[in-house]
């Protein structure tokens, strides 16, 4: 049977056969998908190639940047060893740029020629070459540009004595170098695939600029008026001169109050302090040499430098003891122990002030001594020329080898004070009395009347025709009851008055047949007698200073105190006003004036002798009291080395003490125990006391003002106009810096400073510098030889303006008291460093194959920088110069204060010109 497949119904296709087809289908699909994937990966893999060219370029750019930095650091190191400070070819900045460009060009050109030519720089497929201008095969130096990066520098510092704590300095340089690259395939180097211009920019990692600016800042902290070194020297020198002057005032030694040896140490200590504050690092040998020289100047043991070096045990700074140089040197020069305290007593005391009120100085006795045992005395009378005479005498004697060892005053009582007491007593011993008409009565009247028809006509005034004194008796109240207005005495008078009394009548009178009326007059006299009582009243007694009538038992003599108490004044008054006195008569005879007063008179009383003496005793009492008052312990020359400040504080202190003890000194209760003064004399004595205290107060204030004015005037006259500082700036400087310098100060070293970029907070780094200076300590007595020249690295001069005696304030005249003696020294300092080097010790940017990295140096010394045969410019030494004033004020008398050595007017070190 033939069956077509279609009509064959004998079987069906088994599923397994379907399964086979499925298998085939899936394997084909799998293969197809894999093939698709394979074709996909090829283009992806080819992507690698696109990067190669830019990668090569980037690598070359980074490499050239590194080389640029390296070349720059090497160039800056060379420049740092010989920086150009002044040049005739341009400014210092221009010269730096020129030299850097020149060095970079040379270096980079040879580097580029070595690495980026002749297809040397390659990554296997492509090669990169630099295009340099063909004729010169160098880079044009003018295409290199620089940019400065300014960073903030943070430091610890001292106010007024150090630099600013936050400064912004350009610290880094950024170099821009434009170049042209050419990239080609290694297999066909002549065809340029890419040509590109790029500017290589890199930071030069050397901090040359920072070192340069810091050194310039160091120069300004040393030099000029009102620089930190000036402030330091002024404060230290004033402390020094004040303490030494006190020692001189008390003992006569040291003879040379301001000694150049010590000034040199002060100047060097200041330089090291400034160095430490500006750089936070100092030359270590300088510190120990300074300590060694200070010890030597103070006659301490001469230890080797190594011992000093090992003894410095604080890691952040070295302490310099100010006291040794101020107080210690005074002691050593006077032959005492180093640490003996110098008692700087008060500049002004009550004793002096009161003495001047109570006594006058007639003459001054100077005691001179000459070793071994000779003593001589000279006496100088107190006139207007006394100051000059004393000064001349001291100079002459000093030339002969005598030294002033004592100055004593000869006193007499001050007559003015005496007169003052007397006039005061006279004012107190006084009272005022007056008379009053206490009673007026008519005791008799007679009128002579004619009777009618008389008419009354004019009546004339009464006039006195007779005044008859009557009884007079004392009406003084009992002791203790007398008050103002009390009647002390009564006088009676009978006064007769008469008056004309006119009477008239009209009568008819026939005259020659005419009837006329005629007036006829009859003048009669009236009489009246009045009895008048006149009382003497006490107005006031013992009035002074607004108080009156406050004396016990006034007008009664006090036997205990032997005080008349104005008792005799009544008699005196009555004696002054007899009955015949016209004014009294007036009182008596004036009609209708009951209650009228008059004859008011002040009557001085008798002043007993003891008032004068008791007043003087009271004065002595006050003097004792006030002299025992001690000034505030802190008000001394060590605390306030500036005399004007010390003066102000002393006066303020004295005033305060005075005010605090006024009541005690008035001793009111002694003279006014109960309600009243014991007696008029006591009142007088009390007021004398008050007068003295008032005089003291006035004297205090006036003296203060006069002294202040005189000192200020002298100071301002001594400061030259071109100096750049004033008396006020000296005062302000000393006030603000004395606390930091009084006992000791620390010269900082070894601590890093912080450098931060204000725009980029993550960029913060630390700066640690190493400083090296020659000479280590500037010595004014020893020159340094440098080549052919002898260099004096420190030159000092101190001039004692007012000579060996100083200047008395107020000047010595009979009328002005001598309160203080002052002296003034003008100090001039000038110096330079033979060689000054700063190295950047914690950013060693200069590569050195032997030690790895080397620091960036910056050197200042005198040398000429040449480029072959051309002079490019000069490097200069660090140089400073300034002048300042040092004062000393001591109380009057004593040894006074001044330099006693022959060249006191111009004490200069050998190098000073």
């Amino acid at each position: 049977m033939s069956h077509s497949l279609l009509s064959d119904r004998t079987a069906r296709i088994p599923f397994a056969v379907l399964g086979i087809f499925l298998l085939l289908g899936s394997s084909m699909t799998c293969a197809f998908i894999l093939h698709l994937e394979a074709t996909q990966t090829t283009p992806a893999a080819e992507l690698l190639d696109l990067n190669s060219v830019s990668r090569l370029t980037h690598a070359a750019e980074a490499d050239i940047a590194t080389a640029l930095n390296r070349a720059g650091a090497q160039a800056l190191a060379r420049i740092g060893r010989e920086p150009i400070i002044i040049s005739s070819l341009g400014s210092a900045q221009d010269m730096l740029t020129w030299r850097l460009r020149h060095a970079l060009t040379q270096n980079i050109t040879s580097y580029l020629l070595a690495q980026y030519t002749d297809d040397q720089y390659t990554d296997g497929t492509y090669t990169l070459n630099i295009c340099l201008s063909n004729d010169t095969l160098t880079i044009d130096p003018d295409t290199i540009t620089f940019e400065e990066r300014t960073l903030d520098l943070h430091r610890q510092t001292l106010p007024l004595l150090g630099p600013r704590p936050l400064v912004s300095y350009p610290s880094y340089l950024i170099v821009h170098l434009p170049l042209t690259f050419r990239v080609s395939a290694l297999s066909d180097p002549d065809i340029t695939l890419r040509r590109e211009q790029a500017t290589i920019t890199t930071l030069l990692t050397s901090r040359y600029l920072l070192l340069e600016h810091l050194t310039d800042e160091f120069q300004t902290t040393l030099s000029g008026p009102a620089s930190p070194l000036w402030a330091f020297t002024t404060t230290f020198a004033n402390l020094y001169s004040t303490l030494r002057a006190w020692k001189h005032y008390v003992t006569g030694a040291p003879a040379n109050i301001v000694d150049n040896r010590h000034l040199a140490l002060i100047a060097n200590a200041g330089i090291l302090l400034e160095q430490g504050l500006v750089f936070h690092s100092v030359d270590p040998i300088s510190i120990i040499t300074l300590l060694s020289q200070t010890g030597h100047a103070l006659n301490q043991d001469d230890a080797p430098l190594l011992q000093y070096f090992n003894q410095e045990r604080t890691p952040n700074g070295s302490t310099y003891n100010t006291r040794n140089l101020t107080q210690g040197s005074a002691n050593i020069d006077a032959g005492d122990n180093l640490t003996d305290p110098i008692e700087t007593g008060p500049l002004l005391s009550f004793s002096d002030i009161i003495a001047d009120i109570l006594y006058n100085i007639t003459s001054v006795t100077l005691e001179f001594t000459k070793p071994p045992n000779l003593v001589e005395y000279e006496e100088v009378a107190y006139t207007n020329e006394t100051s000059d005479q004393i000064a001349a005498m001291i100079s002459i004697r000093h030339e002969q080898g005598w030294t002033l060892s004592n100055l004593t005053k000869q006193y007499i009582l001050n007559e003015t004070t005496n007169h003052a007491i007397q006039s005061l007593a006279a004012s107190v011993y006084r009272d005022s009395m007056s008379m009053v008409v206490s009673n007026r009565t008519v005791i008799y009247t007679q009128t002579n009347t004619p009777g009618p028809p008389w008419e009354e006509g004019d009546i004339g005034p009464w006039h006195v025709c007779l005044c008859q004194p009557g009884a007079k008796c004392s009406t003084i109240p009992l002791k203790g009851d007398i008050i103002p207005g009390s009647s002390l005495y009564q006088e009676h008078y009978n006064v007769t008055y008469e008056r004309t009394h006119c009477w008239w009548q009209d009568i008819d009178v026939n005259l020659s047949g005419n009837h006329t009326v005629i007036r006829i007059w009859d003048n009669r006299t009236d009489t009246m007698i009045e009895s008048v009582s006149l009382d003497t009243l006490l107005q006031w007694a013992a009035s002074f200073g607004g108080t009156h009538d406050d004396v016990t038992d006034i007008l009664y003599e006090n036997d205990t105190l032997q005080d008349p108490n104005l008792q005799e004044t009544l008699d005196t008054y009555r004696g002054q006003h007899p009955d015949s006195q016209p004014e009294k008569q007036q009182l008596i005879t004036t009609l209708g004036n009951t209650g009228a007063t008059g004859l008011q008179t002040e009557i001085p009383g008798l002043i007993p002798q003891w008032v004068q003496t008791t007043s003087w005793e009271a004065f002595e009492d006050i003097w004792d009291n006030l002299s025992q008052l001690t000034l505030n312990h802190g008000c001394n020359a060590t605390q306030y080395p500036y005399p004007l400040t010390l003066l102000d504080h002393t006066i303020a202190n004295l005033s305060a003490l005075f005010t605090a003890h006024i009541q005690e000194n008035l001793a009111y209760d002694r003279y006014h125990p109960g309600q009243r003064f014991c007696s008029v004399g006591m009142k007088a004595v009390f007021h004398a006391r008050a007068w003295l205290l008032d005089s003291i107060n006035t004297s205090l204030i006036n003296t203060a003002a006069t002294l202040h004015a005189a000192l200020t005037q002298i100071l301002e006259a001594a400061i030259p106009a071109s100096s750049g500082y004033t008396a006020d700036s000296i005062e302000e400087t000393i006030t603000h810096t004395i606390d930091a310098l009084r006992d000791k100060f620390t010269i900082p070293y070894g601590t890093p400073m912080i450098l931060a970029n204000p725009q980029s907070p993550t960029w913060t780094e630390s700066v640690l510098l190493a400083v090296n200076q020659i000479p280590h300590v500037l010595d004014p007595f020893q020159p340094i030889s440098s080549g052919q020249e002898q260099l004096w690295t420190l030159k000092l001069r101190n001039r004692c303006i007012f000579g060996p005696t100083g200047r008395p304030i107020l000047p010595l005249t009979p009328v002005t008291p001598w309160i203080l003696t002052m002296n003034l020294w003008c100090i001039d300092v000038e110096g330079e460093f033979l060689r000054f080097e700063v190295d950047d010790a914690n950013n060693e940017a200069v590569y050195n194959p032997l030690i790895g990295h080397s620091p960036q140096p910056y050197v200042r010394e005198a040398c000429v920088i040449t480029n072959g045969s051309t002079i490019l410019g000069e490097n200069t030494r660090l140089h400073f110069a300034y002048s300042t004033i040092s004062l000393a004020v001591v109380p009057a008398f004593g040894m006074m204060c001044g330099d006693l050595q022959p060249n006191w007017a111009n004490d200069a070190t050998p190098g000073y010109s």
């Binding site: 370029t57 750019e61 940047a65 790029a198 500017t199 970029n757 960029w763």
Partner: protein
């Protein structure tokens, strides 16, 4: 005799090989198996598509990083590093690239990671959940003195 008539009428055709009703379970299995197979095939193709899509996106992302690192861009410093400050202000190349790729259906953002600083451009983009990342190691210049390693990533996704 059914004859031709009966042969043509399937419903009355009694010539049969097997009884379909009794073979139903087998038919079920077969049908299910066939369905599974076709599903698998479809899945394979879909997986291939997805993978190819991902690979394509990844390559696009890589190309984007390449374009971003083109030295012509302002924030690329000589030496091939990225200047962070300029990068944060670089809107020009980003906008240009976005315009270029938008017709292709891609959206993306750039992210620069350096130390603890992460800069995303554009800053406020919304990131969907299904994105592709391509990263490159780059150096980042923070300032003249500091250059640190960082990573530049492109996050790419299809626009919905």
């Amino acid at each position: 005799m059914g004859g031709n008539r009966t042969r043509h009428l399937l419903s009355s055709n009694e010539e049969a090989v097997t009884e379909e009703y009794t073979a139903l379970p087998a038919l079920c299995v077969v049908v299910i198996g066939l369905t599974l197979f076709f599903l698998l095939l479809a899945h394979a193709y879909a997986a291939y598509q997805a993978q190819s899509e991902t690979a394509h996106s990844y390559h696009t992302a890589e190309l984007l990083t390449e374009k971003l690192l083109d030295p012509a861009n302002a924030f690329i410093t000589p030496g091939g590093a990225i200047d962070l400050a300029s990068f944060m202000q670089a809107s020009e190349p980003l906008t240009q690239l976005q315009q270029d790729y938008s017709p292709l259906g891609f959206d993306f953002l750039f992210r620069l990671t350096a130390n603890t600083t992460i800069v995303t451009l554009p800053a406020d983009a919304y990131i969907p959940t299904n994105y592709i990342v391509a990263s490159r190691e780059v150096s980042v210049v923070l300032n003249d003195a500091q250059t640190i390693p960082g990573r530049l990533s492109v996050l790419l996704w299809r626009q919905p």
